[in-house]
Subunit: 201 residues, 2 copies
DNA sequence: CGCATGTTATTGACACTGTCAATTAACAAT
DNA sequence: ATTGTTAATTGACAGTGTCAATAACATGCG
């Protein structure tokens, strides 16, 4: 008979590898994220990760999914405490921007598909859908309240693109110094708001 | 004495390697862009590229710079023929979007610094500055004409972030099908325009 | 013409990486 | 204690970036 390896234990070991991989990514950069290095850091043998991940792309995919769930949780928490829909929208934007600024390497790994592996996995798409659902809820409420002029399925891509672009440019060092980024952030907020927020008559 | 290798010939061989590298990138993807493969395609020996590029990062940097010059040239050409500044702004946006859609791998290599190598080179920064200067010229003209409400150094980052984000999301397959992208593109244009275009009184 | 010289290009070699087959170690049930 | 199944390790191989050692080679001088 096999040793007692419950699915829970397997899942825990898997999660441990994922967390160690994220640690490497954030501390030493994407180039240091190698399966062998992960094995050393995790104090396991060279090919043990292959027991939990089919290949390297599967590992990075798992990192993406884990991090998306984490981000979703942060978003949920960010909007508890206020019921004002437009305020919630701002809080969600802040959460994403803050995440992108604090975890640049991780952010890039998550959202720049094609950095590793070409096509999105089923689970990744599910995690994205979950995240989008959380984001779009306050937007839907604000829309039915008549506060904004575009429905969520049209407004969210606009806001997402603006924030994503700002973060990616900043990540690439193309937004100048910190002051420039702050200015950009405020300008984007203002320009966008003027573009879709319904002004009271 | 050395063999007759004029700087022109050296530059030509170098450019040839760059063009071949771009060909590999666009035809076979970023993973196929390897120095050894480039050598085979270019019909030279394994380490000949090292005579022209210090290391792989120098090669990708050269690709970036070459492509930025190419993009700048396209932009210059796009706005010849009309003197209407706001129309020129639209044409420049179309040029960038069209470039990003037609050359996704190349676009990502250029603008996602950190994909290869960590810090920007001097020459890359110069090419970026050149490009920005071309982009911002019509915006400055439109600003002094009173057509738009933000000066170029503030408006350009906003527009750039929006377009960059849209292209990167699309590149990652996060903008849905083609129809969704078209919708997003038009929504962004509209929302942004409402945010900064001065409406005639 | 033949040789020295400095330059260009190729090959050899090394450390890494992803990956998997072959092998060993661990352990529950008998 | 034996055994059979499974977890985990080691061996091995093809690629990759990189550079030192080597060859090829056009030119200038004797």
């Amino acid at each position: 008979m096999p040793p007692e390896l419950t699915p829970e234990i397997i899942a825990e070991k898997r999660k441990n590898l994922i967390l160690n991989a994220i640690g490497i990514l954030e501390d030493e950069g994407i180039d240091a994220l190698t399966l062998r290095h992960l094995a050393v850091v995790s104090d396991v043998s060279r090919s043990t990760p292959y027991l939990y991940f089919k290949d390297k792309a599967a590992l990075t995919d798992a990192i993406r999914i884990h991090s998306l769930h984490d981000l979703s949780a942060r978003c949920k928490q960010a909007i508890t405490g206020t019921g004002m829909h437009v305020e919630q929208m701002r809080l969600l934007g802040d959460t994403l921007i803050s995440f992108g600024l604090r975890h640049p390497e991780l952010y890039q790994l998550i959202f720049v598909v094609g950095l590793t592996g070409r096509e999105k996995s089923k689970e990744f798409c599910k995690a994205i859908d979950q995240y989008k659902k959380i984001i779009e809820a306050p937007m839907l409420a604000a829309y039915v309240d008549g506060m904004i002029s575009l429905p969520p399925e049209r407004l969210n891509p606009v806001l997402w693109a603006a924030i994503h672009g700002m973060l990616m440019l900043n990540n690439a060092g193309l937004t100048g110094d910190d002051a420039s980024f702050v200015q950009l952030r405020s300008d984007i907020e203002q320009v966008l708001a003027m573009g879709f927020v319904v002004t009271k008559p």
